[in-house]
């Protein structure tokens, strides 16, 4: 049966009038019909969205919105002139396949309803309030830039760095390029047993011939070539069943050429029995550690270990209490660790310090105990304790029109698939709110036009995606000369100058 279109349109207008403009306080029946509102207008009203942060969270959230809302316009703002966040500055140089996701993100940025505005620092160059005026929805995806601190004496001595800073240093993050880390002693201690800790250990011990073919920053390559570090110990306050790294990274470490694992057999005795009923990922990971620690190496493996000049180890049930200074009081000479014992088991096991301590000699300490987010603006709610923006499925609590996704939403853990799902979840929350009327899109918004004027007044010059592509081309060309995939430009000024 067909209703003639003019009659159908008339009926729709009648219903739309009775449902009102979709305010969130309307009755459920009104809300049920708000989905029909579009029928009376030829296209869905435009949804202007501002995304703050151009890492995986920003791009995956953008992707979902662009795909499922045909009138959405998505502007991605980024503090640096270059996009992609941790994919560019966090993923290790020897993991180029993980960076393939940049191709998908590039496609998203090329979408005609998507724009990228680099070199704009939200909270400094433009305020959250100004963005709220210009956009229907604001999605915060600016990640976790801060480190959790140890809070122990000696944390500020020369030779003590956060793993994050060290990663930024070898990955060419502009603010870390002058780190000049202490690589003159034989032993480095990494506090923490996650994937970042393993990345740092691997970069410290990898043969230079392997590293020089990657996009590692040249200053880091040169410093590592001259490094005296031969032994890296990853120290964790809990036990083997609580390690946070994952199996792929552990396998890579075990197989790293020129190195030998230092695993204490007594840490692993009896463990095989305990893991029988654990979920598969934990079981396989623990089995690999047990094998590396207890199994007699094959002939080939034994040869490989005998020829190794470097070593790496895992130390469990040790918690740092003090970083011990050298005689002149300026640099780290060692670390004092309290022996701990576990209370409880599995993921929720807690480490409790005992009276016993142990001292480890070392000249480099890297703290890899987790990241934290900063609050971006006083007007945005922030949970200081958890270090995240309080939210429900990506809707910022007590802040209509404000959403979040990625690490700033759920905490700084997980891999690309976790952030992808997370970004989609937040996008769905936005789309639901549009459809249910709790996000009001009836008034049109100025979007970037409004922001552009303000930025100009303040002397801020945004970098467009095509300008990033020019920077990209310069980096790739420079890299080719050195046999690398790219040579990253290290300074914000250099990046901006790299395109006319």
């Amino acid at each position: 049966m067909i209703v003639p279109r003019p009659l159908a349109a008339l009926l729709a207008r009648v219903y739309c009038r009775t449902t009102g403009s979709g305010s969130s306080s309307s009755s459920s029946s009104g809300r049920a019909f708000s989905g029909v509102q579009w029928f009376s207008s030829l296209a869905e009203p435009e949804l202007k969205v501002c995304i703050v942060g151009s890492g995986p969270a920003g791009f995956y959230t953008a992707q979902h919105l662009l795909k499922y809302h045909k009138s959405s316009v998505v502007d991605i703002y980024e503090k640096l002139p270059v996009p992609f966040g941790l994919v560019r500055f966090g993923v290790a140089p020897d993991h180029p396949e993980v960076k393939n996701v940049i191709n998908a993100f590039t496609q998203i940025a090329h979408h005609d309803r998507c724009s990228f505005y680099g070199n704009v620092s939200v909270g400094k160059d433009i305020s959250i309030e100004e963005l709220k005026q210009a956009y229907h929805a604001l999605i915060l995806t600016y990640g976790a830039e801060a480190n959790r601190i140890l809070g122990i004496p000696g944390e500020n001595l020369l030779g003590v760095y956060s793993a994050r800073t060290f990663v930024g240093w070898y990955n060419g993050l502009p603010e870390n390029r002058n780190l000049n880390p202490e690589l003159s002693s034989e032993t480095a201690v990494i506090l923490g047993q996650g994937n970042v800790a393993l990345d740092v250990a691997r970069i410290l011990l990898s043969p230079i011939d392997m590293l020089k073919k990657t996009d590692i920053a040249t200053h880091a390559l040169e410093a590592l070539a001259a490094s005296k570090v031969k032994r890296v110990l990853l120290v964790g306050r809990r036990g083997p069943l609580q390690v946070a790294f994952t199996i792929k990274e552990l396998r890579e470490m075990i197989n790293l050429p020129g190195t030998c694992p230092l695993l204490n057999p007594s840490d692993f005795e009896g463990l095989q029995q305990m893991i029988k009923d654990l979920p598969r990922p934990r079981k396989r990971l623990t089995e690999l550690m047990i094998k590396a620690a207890l199994e007699k190496p094959s002939e080939k493996e034994a040869e490989h270990r005998a020829a190794a000049t470097k070593e790496w180890g895992l130390q469990f049930l040790r918690s740092p209490v003090e970083i011990v200074p050298s005689n002149d009081g300026k640099r780290v000479a060692g670390i004092r660790l309290a022996v701990t014992k576990l209370e409880g088991s599995g993921k929720s096991a807690k480490a409790v310090q005992t009276e016993d301590v142990e001292d480890l000699e070392c000249g480099l300490v890297l703290s890899s105990v987790g990241y934290k987010s900063y609050p971006i603006d006083p007007s945005v709610p922030f949970d200081q304790q958890q270090g995240i923006i309080p939210n429900n499925l990506g809707r910022v609590l007590q802040a209509p029109g404000l959403y979040c996704s990625g690490w700033v939403k759920r905490g700084p853990t997980g891999v690309i698939v976790t952030t992808m799902n997370d970004g989609f979840e937040t996008a769905v929350s936005v789309l639901e709110d549009v459809r249910l009327g709790s996000l009001n899109v009836s008034a049109s918004k100025g979007g970037f036009k409004d922001i552009e004027a303000l930025l100009k007044q303040r002397g801020v010059r945004p970098v467009s995606f095509s300008e990033w592509e020019k920077i990209d081309a310069v980096e790739v060309a420079k890299g080719e000369k050195a046999g690398k995939p790219r040579e990253k430009l290290l300074g914000v000024q250099e990046m901006i100058k790299a395109h006319p």
């Binding site: 067909i2 209703v3 279109r5 159908a8 009926l11 729709a12 009648v14 219903y15 009775t18 459920s28 029946s29 009104g30 809300r31 049920a32 019909f33 989905g35 029909v36 579009w38 029928f39 869905e44 992707q63 795909k67 499922y68 809302h69 045909k70 396949e97 993980v98 393939n100 996701v101 191709n103 998908a104 590039t106 496609q107 998203i108 979408h111 005609d112 309803r113 994952t246 199996i247 792929k248 598969r280 990922p281 396989r284 990971l285 499925l393 990506g394 891999v415 690309i416 698939v417 976790t418 992808m420 799902n421 989609f424 979840e425 769905v428 929350s429 789309l431 639901e432 459809r435 249910l436």
Partner: protein, 227 residues
């Protein structure tokens, strides 16, 4: 019903030339329920309930045809040139998704029919051919399967569940695939990475289910019933 759909499609295309026609798909919004809810509310238009239901059903049809709101899963363009699909999100650089894809198998003996089951439970039959990589086959058919690392075993975004009968026919996963599967959310015994499944004649009839992502996730834009 098909006549109505075509009629609607024609009328809409006249009005909105940029919109793409879509194939049939189940409307995921329970419209009859919405009509019934309106009835219970006691509003003055109740006497037009039958027309309301018709209108709303027509609206959902409209949505199916235009791809707005209820069913915006990107599908192969039907009868529309690539130039018109300006706001279609071309996500996959290596795959000719935007063109009227003529990935027809060379001969009948090459054909492998598989079914994808998307995140809302919808079954999508797909004609693949021997040698096809399931991840890229999904992309060619507009299925929402991400492949962040581009089939290099460095992520688990192409995680799928394989139906039991065909799961056993797949060659065993290499260690590197198992390692990446360990990272996949909601891992099941029949989990595999789509980028590691290559079609053979033996896999005729295979069903590949996309894992549900989160409790909030309705990929086709379904709006949950208001309480």
């Amino acid at each position: 019903m098909a006549a109505a759909r075509r009629c609607c499609s024609f009328a809409l295309r006249a009005a909105r030339p940029r919109r793409r026609a879509r194939g049939p798909g189940a409307a995921s919004v329970p419209l009859v329920t919405q009509g019934a809810q309106a009835a219970r509310s006691g509003k003055s238009f109740i006497h037009l309930l039958n027309s309301t239901q018709l209108l709303v059903r027509l609206a959902s049809l409209d949505a199916r045809v235009t791809g707005e709101l209820t069913d915006s899963r990107p599908q192969r363009d039907i009868g529309q040139s690539p130039a018109e699909s300006g706001d279609h999100l071309c996500l996959f650089p290596d795959v000719r998704q935007c063109e009227d894809s003529s990935q027809k198998p060379e001969s009948l003996t090459d054909v492998v029919n598989v079914t994808f089951i998307d995140r809302s439970g919808r079954k999508i039959p797909v004609k693949g051919k021997v040698g096809d990589n399931v991840l890229y086959l999904a992309h060619e058919n507009g299925i929402d399967l991400e492949g962040a690392c581009e089939a290099s075993l460095a992520c688990s975004t192409c995680h799928v569940y394989v139906n039991e009968e065909h799961f056993d026919k797949l060659p065993e996963a290499v260690e590197r695939e198992e390692d990446m599967l360990d990272m996949a959310p909601v891992l099941q015994l029949n989990s595999r990475l789509g980028c590691q499944i290559i079609l053979t004649k033996e896999l005729e009839g295979m069903e590949l289910t996309l894992p549900k992502i989160t409790r909030n996730f309705y990929v086709d834009g379904h709006v949950p019933k208001p309480h």
